[in-house]
């Protein structure tokens, strides 16, 4: 049996290090085959609903948002007052916009940093063969996701209320506090509550993502490691984590992007308060677009576009990592 050494400067053996005879047979990419005849019609028929919806609900609103952002427009009546880049100038000088941006980034980073590791741990536990009641735990962890965000916000508003909320009542009954603690009275504690409630709600979804990734790790690798006497910790750190790393990058990206859209919880839990200290960008846009009369669509559109640019830069940086991850995924076959 011949062994293959990796090329100088690389730790891992790749396909290019093997001789053509040793390489795995190339997969034929059928997706690039030309579609002919009636199949072309069917392709269009099946794609048409999606394309129509995509044009109507993604491309058109995007173009409209760009257009509106250059006007001083209330959303009612003709779009006449061309404002040039005035809206952008005002937003860049608006301290509340920057508070919102910072809060959104803090929220996105914190939720991602907390929810991904703990949902991964839960997923690893729930994919262990020895664990009983997996279905029960999966349902328990997934259940908060089916509660509407508005309802979750209301539930926690009442739970955390310092007057008669359950949490404060327990703390008082245990003699841990004399007076109820108002978590919404301080920017940082209010933000932390937003983060924790968001994690509580979305935890199950990320756990499912991780479970899907874990189920793609070939079982024979674990069997081989067991024969070699590897501990569970070694299996985790030497087999599981390296193999799911490409998917982890994608899950992280999803987690960040989803967290940047936070809105419903802010509306129901803090309404941007105390004062304006927990404003996030979606709430800022909403308040400018609908929070006063006359509406200020132009300003809100400009804010939405500016934040999209910021988010795009962040996501693009992640995109590079995702591309690398996709390559690794193909290599690992997961």
């Amino acid at each position: 049996m011949t062994t293959i050494a990796p090329a100088p400067g690389r730790e891992r053996v790749t396909e290019s290090d093997r001789s053509p005879a040793q390489r795995a047979p190339e997969r034929v990419d059928h997706s690039r085959e030309r579609v002919r005849g009636l199949d072309r019609v069917w392709l269009l028929v099946f794609l048409a609903p999606f394309l129509l919806l995509y044009l109507g609900f993604t491309i058109w609103p995007l173009i409209a948002t760009i257009y509106y952002s250059f006007f001083d427009w209330s959303g009612i009546g003709p779009i006449e007052n061309f404002a040039g880049v005035d809206n952008y100038g005002s937003i860049l000088a608006d301290p509340l916009f920057w508070v919102s941006v910072v809060n959104t980034l803090i929220f996105a980073l914190l939720t991602t940093v907390i929810k991904l590791p703990i949902s991964l741990v839960a997923a690893i536990l729930l994919t262990r063969k020895w664990l009983r009641g997996k279905r029960f735990f999966r349902t328990v962890f997934f259940a908060p996701l089916i509660i509407p965000v508005a309802m979750a916000g209301l539930i926690f508003t009442y739970l955390l209320n310092p007057s008669n909320g359950a949490l404060n009542a327990i703390l008082r009954d245990l003699g841990l506090v004399d007076e109820g603690f108002d978590v919404f009275a301080n920017r940082w504690s209010a933000l932390l509550v937003l983060v924790l409630v968001s994690i509580w709600q979305i935890f199950g979804q990320y756990m499912i993502y991780w479970m899907a990734a874990l189920q793609n790790v070939p079982e024979e690798l674990y069997e081989a490691a067991a024969i070699d006497g590897a501990s569970e910790w070694k299996k985790l750190t030497r087999i599981t984590l390296p193999i799911i790393k490409p998917v982890a990058v994608i899950i992280t990206l999803l987690g960040l992007v989803n967290a940047m859209h936070v809105f419903g919880l802010v509306v129901t839990l803090t309404a941007g308060g105390p004062g304006t200290s927990t404003y996030v960008v979606s709430y800022f846009i909403y308040q400018n677009a609908f929070g006063r009369v006359p509406f200020d669509y132009g300003y809100a559109s400009a804010a939405a576009l500016l934040f999209s640019v910021i988010a795009f830069v962040l996501v693009s940086a992640q995109g590079l990592a995702v591309r690398r991850a996709q390559r690794l995924r193909k290599e690992y076959g997961v």
Binding site: N161, E179, G273, G275, G291, R292, P294
Partner: protein, 489 residues
């Protein structure tokens, strides 16, 4: 083509086409044939959730008297309403009549939301005679000889600035509910007793967003007379950081620090429930609370209403009365101006069914009704006694009556609309952080004042006869009415 495939393609095409046709065919016509004649449906929107049953009764009675007109009255919660109605106008789905008090006549005309009350724009004298003299003014509810609005609720008794006391909590605390706190010190003493002798909080004070106004108007009106926009007509300045306002806010902070405000950043609904559930002894709010609590099953024999509390040094301010009591408007998008005008005449009949039922339900006091004669509810009578005391509410100066061109000016509205809730947000922030209001609110006052002054200067340069002088009434004793004869001097 394979015949089987062709058949499938035809079926799919037909299904898509029928769906598209069905979507295009939706009708929005609000007239329908019923029996012998055509029945018009008049859509009315407001945010009086506690009046839903009343509106149903009103609709049924009106249709009984006018079989060709059906009333469809929709009540939406206040916060949603402020977004839903503008969106309805934007999408050409506005109701025929709507309730709106957030902006005045000139803004509504500017937004093209309203049309005159009657089809031809004029209203007969027997209609305007239902109101006291001086109720119909150019710029307030009339423009270019056409009448667009009418005062609905009167403004002497109706409004915020009343203190509600929970009988059960006061009794448990050993306090006499019929001898309510009269001064700030009395209030603190009552709170100390409630906290010491009951499990209830003292004051259920909502502090979330603009709901902060409930306790604010319950206290500040005794110190300083200003408009609800934090504007002082005596000095012509936005006054969030004026001495009276700072003093009042410092007192609220003192109440909070002492634990006399129910903890939490609560909204008005939570605080109202807290009071009704006997979890708080005191709640500040307005005339409408009778019907709100009544609709929630908390009857008026469980509480009493009292005047707001004064600073220990005595009252130096008053609640403000304004000319703008317009509430219901006819939509510019209505296809039924005749039906709307018929309904308006019917609802404003001082002896009609609408008025009788309105007072029977104790919803408040109307401007076209003899309230002394019509009010029978004991708590509403109590409110009327309080509101009628000299100096409890005073008529604010009206810049429009000093400078008619103010009707065309946008400067004041523009100064307010950019950040409409800024004052409440600043108060909320200062309250939870313990910072003085002066430091948190200074930027807001400066921004508003600058916007107003610069806006007026620009408008004056373009030919309007407007200036800061229109908004300044230095000779006014702000504890008394600014009467119509004062404009002449």
């Amino acid at each position: 083509m394979n015949p089987h495939r062709r058949g499938t393609a035809v079926i799919i095409t037909a299904a898509i086409a029928s769906l598209l046709l069905a979507a295009c065919g939706t009708s929005t016509n609000s007239s329908s044939s019923s029996g012998g004649g055509t029945q018009t449906t008049l859509k009315i929107w407001d945010f009086s959730a506690e009046q839903v049953q009343f509106h149903k009764d009103i609709g049924a009675q009106f249709t009984k008297e006018h079989p060709n007109i059906k009333i469809e009255w929709r009540s939406i919660t206040q916060a949603d309403y402020m977004k839903t109605l503008p969106l309805a106008f934007q999408s050409n789905q506005a109701p025929d009549m709507f309730y709106w008090n957030a902006t005045g006549l000139s803004e509504l005309l500017d937004q093209k939301w309203i049309r005159p009350l009657s089809p031809d724009g004029t209203v007969p004298a027997d209609f305007t005679k239902r109101w006291p003299d001086g109720s119909f003014l150019d710029g307030i509810n009339m423009q270019d000889g056409k009448t667009y609005g009418f005062p609905f609720t009167e403004n002497l008794y109706w409004g915020s600035g009343y203190m509600f006391l929970n009988k059960q909590v006061f009794q448990q605390a050993g306090l006499d509910v019929n001898n309510p706190p009269k001064t700030w010190t009395d209030l603190k003493n009552a709170c100390a007793q409630i906290k010491a002798k009951t499990k209830a909080e003292c004051i259920a004070a909502p502090t979330k967003g603009e709901d902060m106004q409930r306790i604010w108007y319950g206290l500040v009106s005794s110190v300083s007379t200003s408009s609800t926009d934090f504007f002082d007509y005596k000095t012509g300045k936005f006054n969030l950081t004026a001495p009276g306002q700072l003093k009042t806010f410092a007192f609220i902070q003192e109440l909070k620090k002492a634990g006399y405000l129910a903890p939490g950043t609560n909204d008005k609904n939570f605080s109202r429930q807290q009071f009704a559930a006997g979890q708080a002894g005191i709640y500040f709010d307005g005339t409408w609370m009778l019907s709100v609590w009544d609709s929630q099953g908390f009857s008026s024999d469980n509480y009493v209403v009292a005047p707001r509390v004064d600073p220990d040094e005595g009252q130096t301010g008053a609640g403000g009365r304004t000319y703008d009591g317009n509430k219901y408007w006819v939509s510019s998008q209505t296809k039924h101006p005749d039906a709307a005008w018929t309904f308006i005449q019917w609802m404003t009949d001082p002896n009609g069914y609408f008025v009788q039922q309105y007072y029977k339900n104790a919803f408040g006091t109307l401007s076209y009704v003899d309230n002394q004669k019509m009010v029978s509810h004991p708590v509403l009578k109590q409110i009327m006694q309080i509101g009628a005391k000299p100096g409890y509410r005073v008529q604010l100066p009206e810049p429009l009556l000093k400078c008619p061109d103010i009707a065309k000016s946008k400067a004041y509205v523009n100064a307010l609309t950019k950040t409409p809730d800024a004052e409440w947000e600043a108060m909320n922030e200062a309250l939870v952080s313990g910072q003085p209001l002066a430091s948190v609110g200074a930027a807001i006052v400066k921004q508003r004042q600058t916007a107003l002054e610069e806006g007026l200067e620009q408008e004056a340069a373009s030919g309007l006869k407007v200036s800061m002088d229109c908004y300044t009434f230095p000779e006014w004793d702000s504890t008394k009415d600014y009467t119509s004869d004062m404009y002449k001097s």
